[in-house]
């Protein structure tokens, strides 16, 4: 399936008028299109969006008083159905549900198979979508279709939904759509727009499917007076709301405030409870859970809402964590919403609905925190990474949406590299897999295990090699694989090393420890085409001689006259006659000039940072110094949010980056 087809245009006829007494006609007309109607109704002392049957279910005569940390349903004894303040439910519940099945694994004669679950998207009609919520639907649709592979589940659900928007006549004290440019006037994306007057509704069809429903109402055109009052009432609302959040330059101001002491102050109050992110209509982050039978054969994975406020969200294998402190997590959320969202998707991530303010259990008001951490006319400090919204680096293109593909491969060779690392050769005839580029990775699915991202360590005509270190349960069973074993691969994913960019130039390759694995395809490519490159210098460091990977290949490299190869180990016993020390020593006193050379670096963060400093001293330019980063890459296509690093999704925009692209994001703690 490709991006949503443009619906046929509505006829160009004047708005109709639906008398209040006839409102049920709308529900009838919607159901006549085979849709279940979701709309506002009162449950558990709040207005929530649930399945409704008709007018009687609407919160007529009710409104809500909202303030930081409080929401109180109150009678206003009016006749209107849509004068309630926005409640806790966001429409994403129906377009991006809190929990969906992802894959099913079943035993089979040739071993367990992994198959994606095709989405079940019931046709729905959303009644009572506000301007800010419509903007949120647009923003989330952009998010869920961005990147190399959009989300098939979201696409199916969004396409199956018909949106009946309602223009606001009242605003809550927590509303600030006027500042975020999302309301109160209803923008694009609705199929039908209602404006509520005391005597009824001015109805505009804005799409073909919407027109079908409006025609079915069989009501007259609205009078000029009615359309006039509808326009006036929303204009008046805009006046009363004003512009509570000065957004001019906000993305840059937030960037410059990355080390602001106020983050720590907020962390004193913030409970990191995740409420703000889960009520937010645009927050999209998810995690994948695994369930299985007692034998680990029949298994399922499902995808649930997650939040950058939960510790687990920043956790990677080995239990390291990118955002250990609550201050890190709040900073991530706020800067993502109002700043890096621009870099990623070309818009703000906030629509000003105010849910995060009202439903924060300790009343933290994002408007106040923004003013405290990034006040208007704040001295624009240094930008920590070189992209400047809103016209910053182009947001990822909209993806062709197709379900995740899992390709069954068979282990044809297992080579033990070290006591905890093996190289698996996985045979496949899948063209997409075999077209993998150096630096790309695959997700390796096994029943009853999470699917870790694994770099490709060699690309062969009929197979891929993966070099895997045992760091956790999932890699444990991978490193225990035997020839004949089967694994389902998803990929290839990620941005490859820019090898072509290095043609005609000197090449410096620096590998640390397991980091040699993602660089091995670079070596293959460069050596295969040796004459097309200048001087090739390869520096390899390992913890001990016993930790060296691909030992025969290292020996062969050492024997070549057309490359400079040196290696060094951190610690060695008496039986090691090579260099001892750190990898940077290998070129510390070297006399070659690095200017114009291209560097490819992979290893643990500390090693890469030391190497980048060392190479810079040799004159290598930041935009030709390439590293590959480690993050908690879960979905592999920029949809789950786990691997964010400042403006980037490591899985989608990387994992290969130039040091120039990363800027301070390469060294800022807790980002």
């Amino acid at each position: 399936m490709t991006t949503r087809p443009e619906p046929p245009v509505a006829h160009d006829d004047p708005p109709r008028f639906l008398p209040r007494a006839e409102l049920d006609r709308l529900f009838g007309a919607l159901r006549a299109t085979g849709r279940t109607v979701i709309g506002p109704t009162i449950r558990e002392q709040a207005v929530t969006y649930d399945q409704i049957d008709g007018t009687d279910d609407l919160p007529i005569g009710w409104t809500a008083d909202t303030a930081p940390g409080t929401y109180r349903l109150t009678r206003n004894d009016g006749v209107r159905a849509f004068d309630y303040g926005i409640g806790p439910t966001a429409w994403k519940r129906y377009t991006h549900p809190p929990r969906i099945p992802l894959t099913v694994s079943a035993p089979s004669p040739v071993g367990p198979t992994v198959a994606p679950v095709t989405p079940d998207a019931p046709p729905l009609a959303f009644v009572g979508v506000r301007a800010c919520e419509l903007a949120a639907l647009r923003i989330q649709e952009r998010v869920m279709r961005a990147g190399p592979a959009g989300d098939v589940d979201h696409a199916a659900r969004r396409d199956a939904a018909l949106v009946v928007a309602v223009e606001c006549a009242v605003a809550g004290s927590t509303c600030f759509c006027t500042s975020m440019g999302t309301g109160p006037e209803v923008g694009e994306g609705a199929d039908i727009v209602l404006s509520e007057l005391d005597e009824g509704f001015v109805v505009r069809a804005e799409s073909g499917p919407g027109q079908v429903v409006v025609d079915a109402l069989r009501v007259d055109a609205a009078s000029d007076d009615q359309t006039g009052r509808a326009t006036a009432q929303v204009a008046e609302l805009r006046e009363t709301m004003g512009d509570p959040v000065p957004t001019a330059g906000l993305p840059e101001r937030l960037r410059a405030a990355i080390d602001h002491p106020h983050w720590a102050e907020i962390a004193e109050r913030c409970l990191a409870c995740t409420n703000c992110t889960l009520v937010c209509p645009t927050c999209f982050c998810t995690s994948v859970g695994v369930a299985s039978d007692l034998d680990g054969q029949a298994a399922t994975t499902d995808r649930t809402w997650d939040s950058c406020f939960s510790l687990g969200f920043g956790r990677v294998a080995g239990d390291a964590n990118f955002r250990p402190r609550v201050a890190d997590r709040y900073r991530q959320w706020l800067t993502h919403k109002f700043s890096t969202w621009w870099d990623q998707f070309g818009s703000s991530g906030c629509v000003g609905c105010g849910r995060c303010i009202a439903w924060c259990p300790v009343g933290i008001d994002v408007r106040a925190e923004l003013l405290a951490v990034a006040p208007p006319h704040a001295p624009a400090g240094p930008i920590p990474w070189p992209v400047a919204p809103p016209d910053g680096h182009a947001p990822a293109p909209l993806a062709t949406v197709e379900p995740a593909r899992y390709v069954e491969t068979e282990v044809t060779d297992v080579r033990r590299e070290t006591n905890d690392t093996v190289t698996l050769r996985l045979a496949t005839d899948d063209a997409a897999l075999l077209a993998a580029q150096p630096g790309q990775f695959v997700m390796v699915a096994q029943p009853a295990q999470s699917a870790p991202p694994i770099s490709i360590s060699r690309i062969l005509p009929d197979a891929l090699e993966l070099t895997i270190r045992h760091v956790g349960p999932a890699t444990a069973s991978l490193t225990a694989a035997r020839p004949g074993g089967r694994f389902a691969l998803r990929g290839p994913m990620g941005r490859p090393w820019p090898i072509d960019e290095a043609r005609g130039r000197d090449v410096v390759i620096v590998a640390g420890g397991i980091g040699l694995a993602p660089l091995r395809p670079v070596l293959d490519a460069v050596l295969r085409d040796r004459p097309r490159f200048g001087a090739v210098r390869i520096f390899h460091g390992a913890r001990t001689p016993a930790d060296r990977l691909f030992v025969p290949e290292l020996a062969a490299l050492a024997g070549r006259v057309d490359v400079e190869f040196a290696e060094i180990v951190d610690r060695a016993g008496p039986d090691w006659f090579g260099r001892v020390g750190v990898v940077t020593q290998l070129f510390e006193h070297a006399t070659w000039a690095g200017a114009g050379a291209t560097a490819f670096i992979c290893g643990p963060d500390r090693m890469m940072q030391a190497t980048v400093r060392g190479l810079a001293a040799h004159g290598l330019s930041a935009d030709r110094t390439w590293v590959t980063l480690e993050r908690n890459m879960a979905c592999g296509v920029g949809l789950c949010g786990h691997c964010q690093l400042g403006p980037y999704f490591v899985c989608r925009d990387g994992p290969v980056f130039s040091v120039a692209e990363l800027g301070d994001a390469f060294t800022t703690e807790g980002l």
Binding site: T70, L73, L278, D293, G296, L311, W359, P361, P473
Partner: protein
């Protein structure tokens, strides 16, 4: 040895582990949860050797155990000795429930004068042999994993046992109850109704049970990671006297540090007892 190690294939938890379930001061509810897995109990029993589980079988074993599930808190001198013996006999020690993990409801006595408490229940306290404190297992020996809750959740126990048998990390999230509340579309009782709710500082696992039943979370799964007890207490004290805030925290996980801090700052749990921990109580924790 940690659970991660145990489930990472690095540690020898055999395909058919020898499992023991023992209890200290507790209500039996957590070990009964295993028997409450009515649909899986027999299948699980076929895949493990349940060598010690006095509640359910007359077969006994004094060890060694591959996995030892411990219910209850340490409340008598004998128990303080027994847990050391059991730890030595076990590869993996897993605490089940609030008593074993944080002391349980009986840990409220840790704030009190032990003799007063004893005298209140027993005419002749000298006949009763108990420690001044009820303390978590981790205060006495190393603990490899915790299954939280008062009582533990059958689903989490099932997940833990399955992960153990399959060799993967069990999915026992340490996020706040709020996350599950929102996923379930339960309206926040704190925000919409002003009900005192410990959800934001309490670990999920119950499925947001109390809010789903129209009341505030009472913290029976204990503090979540980075639980900001004081932060929540400061907010609650806008409407409640500190004593009533402490009241909310002073239940089954009162002795867990994030909750205890709040209780101590309010001068101790409800009841006419000396608000400061007894020397033994403070020793017991540090």
């Amino acid at each position: 040895m940690t659970l991660a190690a145990a489930t990472s294939g690095r540690t020898a938890v055999p395909a058919r582990p020898r499992i023991a379930i023992v209890k200290f001061a507790s209500c039996d509810g957590c070990q009964l949860t295993l028997l409450d897995l009515e649909d899986e109990l027999l299948a699980i029993a076929e895949r493990i050797d349940l060598v010690e589980f006095a509640e359910a079988t007359s077969q006994r074993s004094s060890g060694p155990y591959d996995v030892l599930f411990v219910e209850g808190s340490v409340s008598t001198p004998e128990q303080a000795e027994e847990i050391v013996r059991l730890r030595a006999a076990s590869t993996l020690l897993v605490t089940i429930g609030a008593c074993a993990t944080s002391g349980g409801i009986q840990a409220l006595r840790n704030w009190a004068d032990h003799d007063l408490v004893r005298a209140a229940v027993y005419p002749d306290p000298t006949m009763v042999d108990s420690l001044a404190t009820a303390t978590p297992i981790a205060d006495h020996v190393a603990v490899d994993a915790e299954i939280r809750g008062c009582p533990i959740s059958p689903a989490q126990l099932r997940e833990f046992v399955t992960a153990l048998l399959v060799g993967r990390r069990p999915g026992l999230p340490d996020e706040a109850v709020c996350a599950e509340c929102k996923r379930r579309n339960i309206v926040c009782v704190a925000v919409a109704r002003g009900i005192t709710c410990l959800g934001p500082v309490t670990r999920t696992g119950c499925g947001a049970l109390c809010p789903a039943y129209g009341r505030g979370c009472y913290g029976c799964f204990g503090p979540r990671e980075s639980a900001n007890g004081p932060g929540l207490a400061r907010w609650l004290e806008r409407d409640l006297p500190p004593a009533d805030v402490a009241r909310a925290f002073a239940l089954f996980n009162a002795w867990s540090p994030p909750f205890r801090t709040v209780i101590d700052e309010a001068g101790g749990p409800p009841g006419p007892i000396d608000g400061r921990p007894t020397p033994e109580a403070s020793d017991a924790h540090h």
